[in-house]
Symmetry: C2
Subunit: 259 residues, 2 copies
Amino acid sequence: MSTTPAAEVRHRCRRGELAGATAGLAPGQVQANLAILPQSLTYDFLLFCQRNPQACPVLEVTEAGDPEPRLLAPGADLRTDLPRYRVFRNGELVAEPTAIGEHWRDDLVGFLLGCSFTFEAAMIAAGLPVRHVEERANVPMYRTNVSCVPAGPFRGPLVVTMRPLTPAQAIRAVRITSRYPRAHGAPVHLGDPAGLGIGDLSRPDWGDAVTIREGEIPVFWACGVTSQAAIAEARPELAITHAPGCMFITDVRHEELAS
Amino acid sequence: MSTTPAAEVRHRCRRGELAGATAGLAPGQVQANLAILPQSLTYDFLLFCQRNPQACPVLEVTEAGDPEPRLLAPGADLRTDLPRYRVFRNGELVAEPTAIGEHWRDDLVGFLLGCSFTFEAAMIAAGLPVRHVEERANVPMYRTNVSCVPAGPFRGPLVVTMRPLTPAQAIRAVRITSRYPRAHGAPVHLGDPAGLGIGDLSRPDWGDAVTIREGEIPVFWACGVTSQAAIAEARPELAITHAPGCMFITDVRHEELAS
């Protein structure tokens, strides 16, 4: 049976052969954030995403109890096809397994959200620098003083990623990343970090600090971790997400998401 | 107290002084389709919209029981501020009132969806013809053979609007309307109507036929009536929509929706 690079990565996860980060795997394929919630919370979570679309661009919502993302990757299984998961009970991290079959229930719904890898691929293709990729680090992420529009129990700060660029590069990056509204789209801020209530760029809340060179300004994009912060705030009896960097790889190509 | 043109139209509706179509009123302001549903159906309807975003671009979802669209028009009241409504019980049209206070309940949720007036304003500003406006008719609408992605009981055909353009104008119209993904965005088809299963352009399913001149091709956009067809299919015990052409006028300007 022939297979695609995306399916091959999913099968490696399923066979337990891959338990680490997916950056750089199956180049050209859209990778997605995963959030799994019980049906009782799915309306409020979907509404939270609708109200905060730059941070939480919904690519697919599965049917309750069905682990197959039929639109993005027919035949895939959200219970096994990511390298590693995080399981939260009442807001507390209780496990980081490589499969979640034992936690699966008939009332669970999977949300797949767009991810910055898509617009970073477009930036790199356009010759723009992506500093954390150059420095082989994780993208720096910061909690901001911007509040998301709440929905039911889901609320919290906008979380952003930062990439340093010259002003001319920043202008090109706005144009290029605007084409991917389903992968966070255009930046939300550039220049003075205080504009987002960020005190010290060298101390990100998640990920690694990166070098900002002479003549560069920080450019900030909405980040999918926003949804995880909102889920933590809601403290659901059960929530399952991908482990950091361990994304779901879809059958969709980046260019198919371009507007 | 000073007021805006949008608020003035809403107040005229509220006072019972306006019960007709809103086309051309409060120029520059975004107008929206309205669908009101009981809370038991809102997850499936929101998911239907997420799965069919070109036809059903969600601009705002109100809190259950709260008739105020706090994001699009703070202070407005969805029970009184549209010229005319349609009330459906079990899928049957039972009333076309100018206010819906007597039907209002604590479990009702309002959905406001983007509308083609937004991209038509951009087309007109760019010097492109909008035939039904020239002919003072309603836009022709057609049921297609394209099925929407269903969600729960919501399912049915994609409904489209049609505007005749020359090929060169059609190319410009693609570029211009693409900027408004929250108002149906780019066309879904152009040229041969058979590509959408439309047999006879002179017999639209809703609205009026318009003249197609020598050298013009039909260009088709997704239409908000798609959501009404899906609601009809679901036959909810109660649903309330705007009456055709009697839209909700928001405080948002068209350009604020541009991508």
